[in-house]
Symmetry: D2
Subunit: 410 residues, 4 copies
């Protein structure tokens, strides 16, 4: 298959091709990889389906390299586990995933495990290998430690997931920040005693990869406009849930209603939920009886997003005053005044660190070898989100030194 | 703004930025540029919104070149007309546009004119320039001949529309076929007596551009799998309309029902229709009472598309036999056996030809100067679309020499 | 190794790495791939060394594909022959090769065979495989028919030589004309009965490749300014040879003198000849006693190239009058007035045609399947080259309808 | 003109085009941008001519941006000074420049000033503007402070020189490390009170640019194999100079001899020196009577480079023992055993720092705003270079913990 990132995605094994064609996987075509980011970067329309194929292809290339250089994986079943895990690692994602999760307290990982085990067509395909295959897949995704090398390639600081999404997100948004030398990075991997290491001669290749990740966070993933649109979706869903719990009249598409129901739902219902359902709901709600829901939904559809205010010193913001101003202007402060703390992840030395291995077998954590990487510690940024209409009225409550950044054009 | 094709899209004029932010334009974010092509090329998720911005940016660069080299456009109003026309030329497109149009007999061009004139926010913004601005825009899009150079740049064989979409579609799908030298092509344009010409020294640049277009048609736009998925959408809509006219019970989302209504609808309703609404409807219909609608909708959602059969000699196909086989297998032949004639457009010398102009002022049509271009005449390909399940049973009726191409992996 | 075209060039087999490090191969670092083209396209500085590595890498990928899909080559010796032939196919090239050959009547192919057989280090390395290896290599390069598939991959209309140089030349010059889908083209190759075919489903991929070649010829390889600089080198070498045969005093670097000597030379002397020697000679000659040699050499060094005049109807040019004008202006017409007929090669159906093979085994020549390819017949262009100083004075002798194109800026 | 980095290089002003065509500028076609790096990265064949055009084009785009946004430069003469300075800033470079300079104690900057003032054709062209133009150019290149903004754009930590060479070197070598967002970086520039600043909203764009520079140093510019080939050229030139001072017989091409002469030389002789002359000399010397010169020159031509040894703790190396081993093996230690300390430049806060300017006019040095940039302090690496033949014999003298890295394949 043609792919804008990897040029060609190759399928040698019919198992993998069959997995691609399962409805639960095809559903990922209807879920964007970067949630609401397309409202900031208009190119960010790529889907979790494309990313899943890309993670698979990256794994295929990693395995080709490791097989030639280290003779691993030895057996075909391990190879199929690695490839299947790469293809299916995101199968539990829902629409606007992270927002959805924060409102509803569900986790896409749990849905991934459930879908692998309970979705009829998917499970049947996996059982075609052997009756433990689906269980082993879930064991890998749960990182239970039974397949340490595959687990590291699926989920660590240097995994096929990140390798694909950084390149894909960078290309789709049109920024160069996420680019790194994929082929060289893959060739930097090696295996000793069943674990994955990076050759110490490839120090700078890994530095570049981790810095690319840093830049993607500050420039794309945590872009204030994107966080603002996430907050908007969150407030819409919160309002709907509040209305439902008040038993107010609000129309909710069935697939969504079942997921929102307190009792939760089953896999068959969950896989019917995608972005089309949610956007359709926003259309419905933009004509709802409830004025707040109506306004918030119209803001999303017409991209009248919340304005982000970034404050270095949060103590200067007078939140009470802002809530009062909001109320005075007719904005319910619970839905229209929001604070968020955004965390730019650093390099994490604990447990999951990237270990360099020298030609002589010496091992050292990446952070010891690189001063640049040591600066990559988690950092936080406080942000406030308001309707643009409030910005002028609220100037006094936003703190003297606050920069009010209205990023309307990325 | 960052753009994956043009790197940066620049807005110098607040009019254009205001137009971008009108809901009727933002709606184009919810309509894919290439309809169902994403089911063939998983990267083809880019929207008509991104293309509209790209056509605007291309026009901006064309005008920058023509102003430096030919002193045109002389006045700012013409410049704004050209830029606005580029941005708005696709504003009337609906979801899965061409399919929709063929079922319903509506034309997106007519909706474009109506939206420009009747959409409240859009019209108000345009009226901010002067009271004739919206009318002149429509005059340009209708090609009434009052602004010949702008009209040619908006809609001809060498216009900013094609220049952007070929590059954008090529990048998104990951094929290199659509690439050409944009900067050089723009610099090849010149103006004499108020009309646009191509410098004859740029013959090969234009040849490359037109061949790129040919390759995009044969490889992407008319890819048999894509045509098959278009046919599927068409059959779904046809079935719904048939059920509605039979007054059978079928749930139709309001925004769609109003467009499907025999009396037609107004602009305010039309702009609420987008792909989310349609895909949501497919979800609904995949659980409809009607077995045909239910099956066709599920086929779309789960990508169980029709298999294309390409026949060089259509007379060998025994269509009556195929319909009988379909019926015997439980497939209603009106919905499950379809023929399509696909036309690969050629270079069109009539009326709209590309004229080369020499340093001495001599003019000649491109087709006279290039043997390659003369081969670009329209060609047709007959295709038959069937459920994959029918392929084996129908082998005898498909003609001895027919190639049965089941393109499952682009 | 990093490579700007293929990203990475991989060496698995020490034989190939040893061959790269032989002085006769390292010498190709001092010979540009495109001769004097760098005077037209300033990026065209890439060397025959880089291209040789690229042809090797392309062969490596072709073999990887054919081994997976067709189980060929079966034995390691054939694989090594194919890879070595790709790496060494250009080892006999000299500086400004084609020009040199036309003046001196030598052929780089003959030098390639001789170097492979006679260069001490190269032959010793090849003999390390077995005593017939070098002879078999030459047999392949001579296309004696003993290794038909390898020969076709090394030298045909669809060989690793062209695949690499088109991409490399396009990237270096900065034109997009030469790009095509390499990975897909490689995957379109298949083998039946020991011969290479192209799958008929890849028709358009091959069309694109051959059109890219056409565009590279008309836009890059036969660019009038480049042909003009080739003519200049030719006239310099002709003047030197004429002076030598007249026994006039002219300083000639030893390595060049031995190649120019009527008795010819041996391999050890030939491999000392490279562009540095030639450019150094131009420096010497730019201060020679002979006024013609002095002027021509300075023109080359300072890029005061001949101006090309392209004539559609050669009969209108009054060559006698031009020679008279030249003489009157002090330009010896034998060295300053030149005609050249440039041939743009077409698709060649005879003997070397590209054969498509269908899923059913049917074979057809590419030209039968593609109307576009049938237009690719050889075409000629008549060109005249003069000192720029003569253009004005000669206007009357150049023919009324002639376009005088002074391409000073590509 | 087509350019592989900037796509198109545009000339609007005939002054600049005339400067391009002066022989002293054309000579830069015969001097590679990265000296001996092509022996490490085979793509690094690009010339100082291409880079000079690229620096010009980058300046053209910077000025276009600053004129639109800040109305600077106000007059055409300043614009021409800026463009000419960008084009000519490297005109004094010689072959293998830095090596040459270290042996001979000459500085290319001084030659740049002299060539601008003394080269006949160049000076005549510059005098065509006005009689002070050449002097003002030299004043800018000398950074005398009379044109602070132009000086900063020509030579600072954020200048058109670096912007072009990083992109060009990255593309030519095929590494992605040097890429950054050029268009965005240019748009981040602003001017206040006649000085250039970077908008603080573009913090991450500048971070990316400076990190790209860091990576280019560690991966490309200071690649141990490249430093080893520089050392080799240095030793060759040293040996020649030593032989000349001993009045031993050694053939030296005239253009080189005049530059090597103790009395120095004039501009007319200097501009005849280029890489062709030097490589020709290596050819001559590879057959010299002196065994050391003969061996060193052959090593260069046949790429039998010195092997680099990187030591973290230099005290462990027993240099005396190494020299003894060298002598015992027949290698004169002065020419065959070399130490080098390589300095990776950091961000330099002193004097030349990059200053960010906020929307409110607040200014802050980049290093204060960015933790990443603060890690970019100069670092040193000790390296030893030996003939490969010595590596095994010298194992004991190289220090227990030393890594012996034989980078033969970049």
């Amino acid at each position: 298959m043609k792919d804008p990132v990897h040029d060609e995605i190759l399928f040698d094994d019919s198992l993998l091709w069959d997995l691609v064609n399962v409805p639960a996987v095809q559903r990922l075509r209807r879920i964007r990889q970067l949630g609401t980011s397309y409202l900031t970067f208009h190119g960010a329309e790529h889907t979790r389906f494309a990313h899943s194929l890309g993670a698979y292809e990256t794994m295929r290339r990693v395995l080709y390299h490791l097989q030639r250089e280290c003779g691993w994986p030895k057996d075909r079943r391990d190879e199929r586990l690695a490839l299947s895990a790469a293809l299916l690692h995101d199968v539990g994602h829902g629409p606007f995933s992270h927002t959805f999760e924060s409102v509803l307290g569900i986790h896409h990982e749990e849905w991934t495990y459930r879908i692998i085990l309970e979705d009829y067509e998917l499970r049947k395909t996996l059982d075609g290998v052997d009756s433990d295959f689906a269980l082993d897949l879930v064991s890998i995704l749960r990182k239970e430690g039974r397949f340490p090398a595959i687990e590291a390639l699926i989920s660590s600081q240097l995994d096929v997931d990140r390798m694909d999404y950084m390149l894909r997100d960078a290309q789709a948004t049109g920024v160069s920040y996420g680019r790194f030398e994929l082929a060289r990075l893959i060739r930097s991997l090696t295996m000793t005693d069943g674990r994955i290491y990076v050759k110490s001669s490839s120090l700078h290749t890994v530095e570049q990869y981790l810095l690319a990740r840093y830049f993607m966070y500050v420039q794309v993933y945590l872009h204030p406009v994107t966080v603002g649109s996430d907050v908007l979706v969150e407030k819409i869903l919160t309002r709907v849930r509040d209305l439902m719990s008040e038993e107010s009249r609000v129309e909710v598409p069935d697939a969504l209603a079942r997921v929102l129901a307190p009792a939760g739902t089953d896999v068959a219902a969950y896989v019917r939920l995608d972005e089309a359902v949610l956007v359709y709901a926003f259309h419905l709600w933009s004509e709802a009886d409830d004025a707040i829901l109506r306004d918030l939904s119209a803001r999303f559809l017409h991209r009248k997003l919340f304005a982000p205010v970034v404050r270095e010193d949060p103590s200067q913001i007078d939140l009470a005053a802002l809530r009062t101003t909001a109320k005075a202007m007719g904005f319910h402060p619970d839905y229209y005044v929001s604070q968020r703390q955004c965390i730019i992840p650093g390099y994490d030395v604990l447990g999951q660190g990237i270990t360099l291995i020298g030609a002589n077998g010496d091992m050292v954590d990446l952070s010891q070898a690189s001063k640049l990487i040591r600066t990559l510690v988690p950092s936080r940024e406080n942000r406030l989100f308001l309707p643009k209409e409030m910005l002028e009225e609220s100037a006094g409550s936003l703190g003297r030194r606050a920069r009010s950044i209205v990023y309307s054009r990325p």
